[in-house]
């Protein structure tokens, strides 16, 4: 049986797709057969970030409608043979997704995948609802600003009451906080909420902090999930997150400002 992970946020543009691509690749690189599904029907871009946009033949909606088999639609990653991508349709509208259809696809995938990562669209409408409905675990992607935190809180409430687990009175979805686009400098200037602020408002287990990093843009422009860039801070942060999720105990990084070399050390205040 696969474990289904939803990457969700409520608010748009906070880094869900970046995160989905990174952790799916991370899990696959650890040897777990992983599928990552783009639920953002009409706005597909997971395939771009994973660099397989030119190999898309069939998509998620085709599979749901029985126009293609899963095997036909799944794209095998060229860098890691444990990773498969199920792209979203760019031409359909959101109504193409149904609870029954999504349930059937997830059930079939569950048979031979270890992890299924669901990249949720923004908002709290149908697409976001379906992406989280069958989840076992939720990665709640949040930026350190008030509106993003509020939307995450909202999403957490919806997951606690409207997921399949909630409806069937089963153990609730396991929720993890991923704080992304974090900039210690801006926190210090009071322009952003700190890790502690966000954790206090959401009271959620922190899986990791991903720093604001140029490497993310570079990676997505070249279709390489940032986790494969092991020199980059963001790549390392995602690596940590995957390891922690798999049960490893790793200290948190990227929360405090970088030491600024000898000059910075000499003049550091206190």
């Amino acid at each position: 049986m696969a474990r289904i992970i939803v990457v969700t946020s409520g608010k748009g543009g906070v880094g869900k797709t970046t995160t989905s691509a990174a952790i799916a690749m991370g899990l696959a690189k650890k040897g777990h057969k992983t599928a990552v599904i783009d639920f953002d029907v009409g706005l597909r871009n997971l395939d771009l970030i994973l660099g397989c946009e030119r190999r898309v033949v069939y998509d998620f909606v085709n599979v749901i409608n029985g126009e293609a088999s899963l095997n036909q639609a799944l794209i095998k990653d060229k860098r890691c043979n444990q990773l498969y991508i199920l792209p979203a349709s760019q031409t359909r509208d959101k109504d193409a997704l149904t609870v029954e259809g999504v349930g059937r696809v997830l059930e079939e995938l569950s048979k031979d995948f270890k992890y299924i990562v669901c990249d949720s669209p923004a908002g709290i409408e149908k697409g976001a609802h379906l992406a989280m409905y069958f989840a076992d675990d939720a990665f709640v992607v949040t930026n350190p600003e008030v509106s993003s935190v509020r939307d995450s809180d909202r999403m957490l409430g919806i997951m606690a009451s409207k997921s399949k687990r909630a409806e069937n009175n089963e153990e609730p979805i396991k929720e993890y906080l991923l704080l992304t686009r974090y900039s210690p400098e801006r926190v210090k200037l009071g322009e952003m909420l700190s890790v502690e602020d966000v954790q206090e408002i959401l009271s959620l287990h922190l899986l990791g902090v991903i720093p604001e990093s140029k490497s993310v843009l570079n990676a997505s422009n070249s279709g390489i999930p940032v986790i494969l860039d092991d020199k980059s801070d963001a790549g390392q942060a995602y690596e940590d997150i995957v390891a922690r999720y798999l049960g490893e105990d790793r200290p948190h990084r990227f929360i405090d400002e970088e030491k600024k070399g000898i000059f910075g050390k000499l003049f550091r205040s206190k």
Binding site: R3, G157, E200
Partner: protein, 250 residues
């Protein structure tokens, strides 16, 4: 690989607090005469032995105290237990009675006011004595349900209690909690809290960290902007005094 695939991040927790709302019968005492209590209990139980056997029970002393009748709680509780009834709380007691009960491991539930509420569920209760001044309608409508919430109340969620509401987790900004009776939040209150929503002016709000967007008792409200810095971020109780909302640090 095989070793890795065994590592699983999800463990069933050893302990878990889940939210629930219970419906517990309330025993309203109208006499302090132990032998009368015993007799009446036996009679009642005979009518529905399966219902009463090992039933949890809340003891209501409000009527008794209105009549200024004294009562030895220890004896009453012993009597109830002898009849296989399991008292789990008292309400409407004096401070002394509350303390006596606590010594016996029985906590205080906050007293319901007798305000009639049309939406209240029918009550299960055992009037032992005819009411001093019979007001059957009032008592039929008395709410007996306390809701206990142990999970965070998130933005966009609404919780309603026909009786008191106890929240053990935080209440987020954008969340709304409402009760016909009192509200207790043993955590940070950031959302909206409305007590006495059916008009009970005796209802109160208690919370351990006041950061609310709005607080209201029986329709008398204050918004965040009106909260004085002397009570913000503090444990407080909120009540009505002659239709003025009073916020007092605890």
């Amino acid at each position: 690989m095989s070793k890795e695939s065994q590592i699983h991040p999800y463990h069933r927790p050893d302990l878990e607090f889940k939210s629930s709302s219970l419906s517990v019968p309330v025993l309203v005492l109208g006499t302090n005469d132990l032998s009368v209590i015993e007799q009446q209990l036996l009679l009642k139980i005979k009518q529905a032995p399966d219902f009463f056997r090992y039933s949890p029970l809340i003891i209501d002393l409000q009527e008794l105290n209105k009549l200024d009748l004294n009562l030895d709680l220890t004896d009453v509780i012993a009597q109830l237990r002898k009849q296989d009834l399991l008292p789990i709380g008292i309400r409407g007691g004096t401070q002394e009675q509350n303390q006596a009960a606590l010594k016996l491991g029985i906590p205080k539930m906050s007293a319901q006011s007798a305000t009639a509420s049309p939406q209240a569920k029918p009550v299960q209760k055992l009037p032992l004595e005819p009411e001093p001044e019979p007001e059957p309608v009032k008592n039929e409508a008395e709410a007996t349900v306390t809701r206990v919430i142990t999970q965070p109340v998130r933005s966009g969620q609404r919780i309603y209690s026909h009786g008191d509401l106890i929240v053990l987790a935080q209440v987020s900004a954008g969340a709304e909690i409402m009760a016909e009776g009192n509200i207790h939040v043993y955590n940070t209150l950031r959302g909206r809290a409305l007590a006495g929503v059916q008009g009970d002016t005796e209802a109160r709000i208690f919370c351990s960290d006041l950061q609310a967007e709005l607080i209201s008792i029986a329709g008398n409200y204050k918004i965040s902007e009106d909260l004085d810095s002397s009570v913000r971020n503090k444990p407080v109780q909120i009540y009505l005094n002659e239709l003025a909302l009073i916020i007092k640090a605890l």
